[in-house]
């Protein structure tokens, strides 16, 4: 079996993984910016360097993500639901619900008992259920993204956040700061609101255990905790390097295609 590349072209970052025999050889990231072809090249190069292999050794390149249709270096395009199913099969076979929350988009797929995607939902219209919400609030509160995950657990008081929109929440949070509300309580309110948005999207396809989460937002333990609560599920499984989940799924899909071709 050869080496396959999976490139996930997201709104913010482009992620590449190189895989052989269902094992990750190397990973690379590039800022998508406004030239996603360059970002794809850069992330592929980084992955090649990390794996210590040459470009010629790579067989098929699979592209996925919101910018996949513009990726000229990819040999095939992988539907997000197939990429999510691939990510599940790779990390935790048996998973039935896959959630992928990135910087500006949220997606969920329900899988059948064989791991094939049977239902899918996406939000790419509203920022209230995406990573950019955390980024916005972190900026206002002057804390790092990592700190928000920690501060969430220090909250002692549940306060409601009336705003459902990121823009309105921004104003409301400034008001809370003026009222000397502890940052941890504000973060908890924001995460709970955000988890509510993500959960209501997922509920449209139904939530079956086990649940798995990929995408950069999965790094935030506070948000994951709030989401677990919203979904009434005891565990949400998170793979290593969750932001590469879709890229891994795409690479596996390319490998399968290669095998059947």
């Amino acid at each position: 079996m050869g080496i396959f590349a999976g490139i996930d072209c997201g709104v913010k970052h482009t992620k590449t993984v190189l895989m052989k025999d269902k094992k990750i050889l190397g990973k690379g990231t590039g800022l998508t910016g406004f030239d996603l072809k360059k970002a794809a090249e850069k992330s592929l190069e980084a992955a090649l360097n990390a794996a210590g292999i040459r470009r010629e050794e790579v067989g098929r390149i699979a592209g996925t993500g919101s910018g996949a249709h513009l990726l000229t270096i990819a040999n095939l395009r992988v539907d997000p639901r197939d990429a999510m199913a691939g990510a599940a099969r790779h990390a935790f076979p048996g998973v039935r619900t896959v959630i992928d929350v990135g910087a500006e988009e949220g997606r969920a797929a329900r899988l059948d008992e064989h791991g094939n995607p049977v239902d899918f939902v996406v939000n790419e219209r509203c920022a209230a259920g995406a990573g950019i919400f955390i980024e916005t609030i972190a900026r206002i509160l002057d804390v790092s993204m990592e700190e928000t995950g920690r501060l969430f657990f220090e909250s002692e008081k549940k306060i409601p956040l009336n705003a459902q929109c990121v823009v309105f929440a921004e104003s409301e949070v400034v008001g809370l700061i003026h009222a000397d509300t502890p940052r941890s309580d504000i973060i908890r309110a924001v995460f709970e609101a955000m988890a509510g948005r993500i959960a209501s999207m997922i509920r449209r396809i139904g939530v079956l255990p086990e649940v798995m989460m990929i995408g950069e937002v999965a790094y935030n333990p506070g948000l994951v905790h709030a989401l677990k609560h919203e979904l009434k599920t005891e565990t949400i499984r998170i793979p290593d390097a969750p932001e590469f989940g879709a890229a891994v799924g795409a690479a596996l899909f390319a490998a399968q295609k290669g095998a059947s071709a």
Binding site: V11, F34, E104, R125, C126, A127, I132, T136, R139, I140, D142, Q164, C165, V166, V167, F168, S171, V174, G175, H178, A179
Partner: protein
């Protein structure tokens, strides 16, 4: 947090005014309406059913303080009118529960319809109120009474706050957005592909980096906002006699495009369209006084 730099750029100017032709001393009833919204507050003083003075100010975080600020601004314009002369005060708007002077409250839906009926004339049948935080499409009868309404208050797309965020991003005074949105070169651009203000902001930054002139970006954004508002209006049905209240009424970049979609010009008014809610509240207060129903709580 936003820097000081932008603070003055995107904000609209506060104002107050007095009608020199009315003398409150001869009035039987002097009533006041206070509208506390999400970004602005207005107080309108009415003497025997005619507007005597108003104040239009930006809101702080404290709703009660914003109400007082608007009232002080109106009283300052009125000149020698003492605050004790008020017979009755009605509060309205998003922050109406927290207005210290108010003897009772009314919803802003009722007040905007009544206010537009006065400001734009009794022919008005559809009132579109686009404020800082919500969009309301109101259908009303010949007396300015609400027949039906629809509201979007969940999302900033199409609202005044969304416009402020955008003006801030481009470093353009919010009062200039409308005019400049028509000064693009070449064919009119299509609307931005994103409704969400957060995403539209990223999209606009991308267009600027691609070399788009600011005017062209504004045209694309105003078109998108007009489409967004039109979608709401379409659900209530628009009558030919329609008027716009709230801060967005001053943005011709959005409203003229909206009028083109509807196919009928909006009704014009010499008044500041931002005072419609407070004017409606003050007029309701006057009616209650006249009917002897103005019971202070």
């Amino acid at each position: 947090m936003q820097g000081q730099r932008s603070k003055t750029v995107w904000q609209w100017p506060e104002s107050n005014w007095r009608n020199p032709e009315i003398d409150w001393k001869n009035a039987e009833f002097v009533t006041v309406g206070i509208d506390v919204g999400s970004v602005s507050a207005q107080a309108v003083i009415v003497a025997d059913g005619e507007i005597l003075a108003y104040g239009n100010v930006r809101c702080g975080w404290d709703g009660a303080e914003s109400a007082l600020k608007a009232c002080r601004s109106a009283l300052q314009a009125a000149g020698d009118l003492p605050g004790e002369r008020f017979d009755f005060c009605i509060g309205t708007g998003y922050g109406r529960v927290n207005i210290p002077l108010a003897h009772r409250t009314l919803t802003e839906i009722a007040c905007h319809a009544r206010g537009a009926h006065y400001l734009h004339g009794p022919d008005v049948r559809t009132v579109l109120d686009v404020g800082g935080q919500d969009i309301k499409a109101i259908r009303c009868d010949e007396k300015g009474k609400v027949v039906t309404f629809l509201m979007n208050d969940k999302c900033a797309a199409g609202t005044g706050r969304g416009m402020e965020v955008f003006a801030d991003l481009l470093g353009i005074p919010v009062t200039e957005v409308g005019d400049r949105s028509f000064r693009f070169e070449g064919n009119a651009p299509a609307a931005l592909s994103n409704d969400c203000v957060v995403y539209a902001r990223s999209e606009a930054m991308g267009l600027i980096r691609q070399g788009w002139r600011v005017e062209r970006v504004l045209a694309a954004y105003c078109t998108g906002m007009a489409q967004r508002i039109y979608a709401l209006l379409e659900r209530t049905g628009v009558t030919s006699q329609w008027a716009v209240t709230g801060g967005m009424a001053k943005n011709r970049g959005v409203i003229n495009r909206l009028a083109a979609m509807i196919g009928v010009e909006d009704m014009k008014t010499p008044w500041d369209p931002q005072i419609a809610g407070a004017a409606g509240a003050a007029l309701f207060a006057h009616t209650l006084c006249r009917k002897g129903k103005a019971k202070r709580r």
